[in-house]
Symmetry: C2
C-alpha cells in the first residue's frame, strides 16, 4: 500500500515512520513549511517532497491529512486529488460528514473519505512504542473502512471503529486526561519554582498517582487529597494563598475542588 501525507507536524512525523516500518510505502509528504517536509522525508526510505497540493499524479492509495483542523478547509480548497483515492484525516474532532461535504464542494474528482485517528500524544523526536497506539477508524463506505482498518492494523493491534460522536468523546477525554493534566503539572512546576524548589521533588508523587489511576477501572476510586477527605481548612488556606498570588490558578483550584467534592459527595 502507498500512502502520502499532507502535513509534517508531530502526528505525521510519527505516523509516517510507524507505517513505513510496518510495510506501507510513503510516497509523498507535503508541508506548508518546506523545511518540515524535508526533515521528515530525510527520515524515510524513498519518499518525495511534494512541493504543492497538486496530488493529481500521485500513486498513493491513501492520502492522510495530518494538519490542524483550522487548516482543513484551506487545504481542501486548493488540493487536487487523484480519482478514487482514500482521503482521510487523523483528526479526533473533525466530523466525517464535514470532510465529505468539503470534498463534494471542492473536489473535481470522486474520492472516498475516512478518518484514521491515533489516540496518542506525539512529540517530534521522542521515541515511542507504536504498537501501543489505539487507532479509531471511520469511513463513509465499508470498503474504505476496511482499507483504513488494515492500514492501522499494520502498526498496532489496538484498532477499532468509532463514529464521529464516539471520536469526539474520545478527543475531549484525551484533552482532559493528557493536555490539561500536563498543564496542571506545569502549574505545579511553576508554584515550586517560585520557592526555588525543584520539580524533581514532585516526580515520585506524579509517578504514584498515575500508577494508581492506570491500575484502576475508574480513577474516581483512587481519588485522594484535601477535597476528597473534606478537609476544608486546608483547601481554604490554599485558596487564600492562591487568591493573593495567582488569581487564575485560584479559580482553577476552586473549580477542581468543587468538582471532586460533587463527585464524592454521596460517598461521604
Amino acid at each position: 500500500m502507498k500512502i502520502s501525507f499532507v502535513g509534517a507536524g508531530n502526528v505525521a512525523w510519527h505516523l509516517a515512520q510507524a507505517f513505513e516500518s510496518a510495510g506501507p510505502i510513503i510516497s509523498e509528504v507535503y508541508s506548508r513549511d518546506p523545511q518540515h517536509a524535508r526533515q521528515l522525508v530525510g527520515l524515510l526510505y524513498d519518499t518525495a517532497i511534494q512541493p504543492d497540493l497538486n496530488f493529481s499524479e500521485s500513486e498513493a492509495e491513501v492520502l492522510l491529512i495530518a494538519a490542524s483542523d483550522d487548516a482543513l478547509e484551506g487545504i481542501m480548497q486548493r488540493i487536487v486529488l487523484p480519482p478514487g483515492v482514500i482521503l482521510a484525516t487523523v483528526s479526533g474532532s473533525h466530523a466525517l460528514a464535514d470532510l465529505q461535504h468539503l470534498v463534494e464542494v471542492y473536489s473535481d474528482v470522486p474520492v472516498r473519505t475516512g478518518v484514521l485517528y491515533p489516540l496518542q500524544t506525539f512529540t517530534k523526536g521522542a521515541s515511542m512504542d507504536y504498537t501501543q497506539i489505539p487507532f479509531c477508524i471511520e469511513a463513509t463506505e465499508e470498503e474504505t473502512e476496511e482499507a483504513l482498518f488494515k492500514l492501522a492494523e499494520s502498526v498496532s493491534p489496538h484498532v477499532q471503529l468509532a463514529d464521529t460522536e464516539e471520536r469526539r468523546a474520545l478527543h475531549i477525554a484525551a484533552v482532559f486526561a493528557c493536555n490539561f493534566t500536563n498543564q496542571l503539572f506545569s502549574i505545579a512546576h511553576d508554584l515550586l519554582k517560585e520557592e526555588q524548589l525543584s520539580f524533581e521533588l514532585l516526580k515520585p508523587l506524579i509517578r504514584e498517582t498515575t500508577h494508581k489511576a492506570l491500575q484502576s477501572a475508574d480513577p474516581a476510586t483512587v481519588q485522594t487529597g484535601p477535597a476528597r477527605r473534606s478537609d476544608w481548612a486546608t483547601t481554604n488556606r490554599h485558596l487564600n494563598y492562591l487568591q493573593e498570588h495567582h488569581s487564575d490558578w485560584a479559580a482553577m483550584y476552586r473549580l477542581l475542588t468543587e468538582s471532586i467534592r460533587e463527585r464524592h459527595f454521596e460517598e461521604g
Copy 2:
C-alpha cells in the same frame, strides 16, 4: 527510637509500616475510630491500641499526628502529652507556628514541635516503595529537626528541610499535580462512559503523557493539544459540546485552555 501515631488513616497506615520495617518501634496507635486503630495495629509487630488521647504514660519519643487538618485543634484540646516528647504533624499545609501556638495554649507540659511531611499519595492496602518518598522536615529547634531528619532518613534517602512557606508551595503543587490530575482522569473516564467507551482506550495516552512530563525538567516544554497549537476550531467545537451536556466541565475546559494559551502565548 519509639514512635506513636494519632490517626490510623491512609498516611498513618503506610508510615507506621514503613518506619517499623526500617527500625523504629511503633508503641501506640490512637484513632477516633477504634476499628481503624485495630486494623493498623494488626499489621504491626508489637504495638498497643491507645484507647484515648491520654499519652502521659507513653514511652514514645516522637508522637506523629496523622489526622486531617480540621481535626488538629480538637486533638490538641484533649491530648495529654508526656513531657519533652516531639510532637510532629505529617501535614503539608499546617504552619509549624500554629502547632506551636496550640501547644502553648493547651499543653500542661513542655514539648517540642515539628513537621515530618511525606510528599506522596497514600492509599490503604496499596503496596509502594517507601524509599522513593521525599520527606520535608521542619522543627522549632535544631535538635528536634535532627531527630525528625534521622527518623525520615531511616525510611528514605530523599529527606530535606522545608520551612512552612516552602511546604505550603509543595502541598499546593501536589494538589495540582496529583489530586486535580486524578480528577481530570476521572472526568475523562465519565466522558467515555457516556458513549459506552472503555477507559482502557485512554491508558496508553495517559502513560505517554506522564512519561514525557517525568522526563522533562519543566512539563511546559512537552505541552501538546489543540490549545497549544492554537487550534481554536477544535477547542470551540469541544466547548459547544460540553456547554450543552456538562456546563461544569465546560467551565473547566475554558479555564485550562486559557491557561495553556497564556503560558505559551509568546512562543507562538
